[in-house]
């Protein structure tokens, strides 16, 4: 995972709440077995509307999405994070996020910044008054800067630490392989295994 420290880019106002992961990328785009190339699925249904924000220049070159509450609810599909990244987004700002989406973002290197609804309203107003305005998101300072205004955002300490250092979770965990093996040695015998397979007949 690439390190994330600070990012400056065009802010995109997405004036919608409850943007579920089926809207971020519909299921029909999940059939691929690759890890890249999901940008065409991003907001696929909404992008058919010429008035949709990502069909307007300069928002179509945006890299910081500013959305309403409960962004990324629903399905666990990490493809939603990949689609946002493949399109060019580095940051999503919203008042509330679905738990699984937030977790997936942290693993894949997309920064999700939680701010109060009033901040989202202020960012929306600024981005609509001045399309193409750039925002700066500073993960070290946990701040979003829009022109003269600077707003703090929330992110849990551990996710921030991992993003700042670009750490790979699996490598970190495998440092504790001995602890895993020790735990396994204590598991009760009645816990089920899937192998050898048993069936009802």
């Amino acid at each position: 995972m690439d390190k994330f420290t600070t990012h400056t880019g065009i802010g995109v106002p997405l004036r919608r709440s409850n943007v579920d992961t089926d809207q971020i990328i519909p299921a029909v785009y999940l059939k691929r077995v690759t890890r890249t190339g999901f940008e065409d699925g991003l907001f696929a249904a909404w992008r058919q509307d010429p008035g949709f924000v990502l069909n307007q220049a300069p928002y179509d070159r945006g890299s910081i999405l500013v959305a309403g509450p409960d962004f990324g609810t629903g399905s666990s599909r990490e493809h939603a994070v990949w689609a946002l990244q493949d399109y060019g987004f580095r940051v999503v700002i919203a008042p509330r996020f679905g738990d699984i989406f937030r977790g997936n973002s942290g693993k894949a290197g997309l920064l999700v910044a939680t701010v109060p609804e009033t901040v989202v309203e202020a960012l929306w107003a600024g981005l609509e008054a001045e399309p193409g305005r750039e925002l700066t998101v500073d993960l070290t300072a946990r701040t979003i800067t829009a022109g003269e205004q600077t707003y703090p955002f929330a992110i849990d300490d551990y996710t921030r630490y991992r993003l700042l250092n670009g750490l790979d979770d699996i490598s970190l965990t495998l440092q504790h392989a001995d602890a895993i093996a020790a735990y396994e040695a204590t598991r009760p015998v009645y816990k089920p295994t899937t192998l050898p397979a048993r069936t009802a007949d």
Binding site: R15, R16, S17, N18, D20, D22, Q23, P26, A27, V28, L30, K31, R32, V33, T34, R35, A45, G68, P69, D70, T73, G74, S75, S76, R77, E78, H79, R96, F97, G98, D99, I100, G103, N104, K107, A108, E117, D156, Y158, D169, I170, L172, T173, L174, H176, A179, I180, Y183, P188, V189, Y190, K191, P192, T193, T194, L195, R198, T199, A200, D201
Partner: protein
């Protein structure tokens, strides 16, 4: 210190406690896989030269992409076919048990775990699917994960996790006649909203929950994620033990006794404190259906489509206006006047044998209304076999419904079972998001009883309307 059920399960799986804001490292007892969210994880293993640490704690099935007709013919859509073939190759390469199309134990991943008896109380269970919360009905800590985490579990059989907050959802009183577990959970979601449970693990408790069958408890836990709770649990009891006894992977003999002794400790201590509590009076519930485009936008079947002005919050007002437009509904319309062209009975929410029995009881002696297509998709090949042994398939087909093979089917429309633009369904599934069942499709979430009655009348209905 007094602990809740989920805290007990958590504590029993800590491989390494996190310090200084680090998450705990949790051991995972069971990892369920399917074709959609696993291919990139296996690729990651290959790229790093890693193996699957515990193939014997891993189980895979084909469900999301699979057809429900002609299941032994090659899958028509080449992209779906490649994804299913990829799972088959990965399962073979990494030594993972896979129940493929045509296998007697194939089915929706959250139906087959309990059915095989690999879902047991006190376990940690994960799957790259948000409805993994279903398994919480057994007193397991079960939650959905993304593909990066799938790879992590494959490689290490653990997950770094920060402890969640806990919420008690206490339900008391008898469910009125005709009101099901589905109506209960849909009502709860409408009250707390899709974000009401974010950051929490829920425990469903109270005499109403204790009186539910395992199928009913699974329906409720299944939809935990629809109100934002990543997991939802029910304390195991005699109902749980009776369900598990004799299943293929349930313990036997002395191991059974040891397991039951442990499972019996898995209840929240009387003085355990939850971070939040919600109380529901079951006696006041009615059949409940959704009108909008998220599972929180629902009302009683006897009520009317709300107006955006009914909501105080500006974001909810805007969401309601958008939803009415997408759904093609006018505020003030009686829910019972809404005509559907499709009825879907199935999914990990309501595709179990009890759901099929309930719908068949309602449908028996009636006909599906002209112009309505009803799909009955059993949750697993075993459910299908059981239903046929009981003659339920004949009830459905004689009423004019289509009797299909097992899979996720129209719940998310990754296979050919989809709604067309503007088509409207009454669906026993879990999500009414825009386009969920097919581009432009309109979904009303309902119970199996309401689904069957709706099929007969062609409009949203309860069995009492027949």
């Amino acid at each position: 210190m007094a602990r809740t059920l989920s805290q007990k399960v958590w504590d029993d799986h800590v491989v390494r406690a996190g310090a200084d804001g680090e998450p705990d490292l949790l051991y995972i007892d069971l990892h369920l896989c399917h074709e959609v969210t696993s291919p990139q994880a296996f690729d990651g293993l290959r790229a790093a030269g890693r193996r699957v640490r515990r193939p014997d704690l891993t189980l895979a099935t084909e469900d999301h992409n699979t057809p429900t007709l002609d299941i032994l013919a090659p899958i028509a859509d080449p992209v779906s076919r490649l994804q299913v073939d990829t799972l088959r190759q990965n399962a073979q390469e990494f030594g993972i048990r896979l129940h493929s199309l045509g296998d007697k134990d194939q089915g929706v991943v959250h139906i087959i775990g309990p059915q095989l008896g690999v879902t047991q109380p006190g376990m940690t269970i994960v799957c790259g699917d948000s409805h993994t919360s279903t398994h919480g009905a057994f007193g397991a800590l079960a939650f959905g994960i993304g593909t990066s985490e799938v790879e992590h579990v494959l490689a290490t059989q653990t997950l770094p996790q920060a402890p969640p907050k806990t919420m008690a959802v206490t339900v008391t009183g008898a469910l009125p006649e005709g009101v099901t577990a589905k109506d209960l959970i849909l009502t709860h979601i409408a009250r707390v909203g899709t974000g009401g449970g974010q950051g929490y693990v829920a425990e469903y408790r109270g005499d109403t929950i204790a009186a539910l069958t395992m199928e009913g408890r699974m329906t409720i836990c299944n939809m935990s994620i629809e109100w934002g709770a990543r997991a939802g649990l029910v304390a195991p009891d005699q109902t749980t033990f009776d369900y598990l006894a004799g299943r293929p992977h349930a313990p036997a003999g002395a191991a059974w006794d040891a397991a039951v002794a442990y499972w019996s400790t898995l209840a929240s201590d009387p003085d355990a404190r939850f971070d939040a509590e919600v109380v529901i009076d079951a006696t006041q519930l009615t059949p409940f259906v959704t009108w909008g485009t998220n599972p929180g936008q629902g009302v009683g079947l006897g009520e009317r489509v709300p107006s955006p002005g009914d909501f105080a919050d500006p974001a909810e007002q805007a969401a309601a206006a958008r939803a009415l437009d997408y759904m093609g509904l006018a505020a003030g319309t009686a829910m019972r006047d809404i005509a559907v062209d499709t009825v879907f009975l199935g999914s990990c929410t309501n595709g179990r044998i009890e759901d099929l029995r309930l719908a068949a009881t309602v449908l028996k002696g009636h006909r599906v209304a002209d112009g309505v297509r009803m799909l009955v998709v059993p949750g697993s090949a075993r459910v299908r076999e059981q239903a046929m042994a009981e003659g339920l398939d004949r009830v459905f087909t004689e009423a004019g419904a289509e009797w299909r093979y097992a899979g996720c089917s129209m719940c998310l429309g990754m296979n050919p079972d989809t709604l067309g633009p503007g088509e409207r369904s009454a669906s026993t599934s879990n999500r009414n998001f825009e386009g969920r069942q097919g581009k432009g499709g309109r979904t009303h979430l309902v119970s199996p009883a309401v689904a069957a009655a709706t099929a007969v009348r062609g409009r949203l209905s309860a069995p009492a309307d027949l």
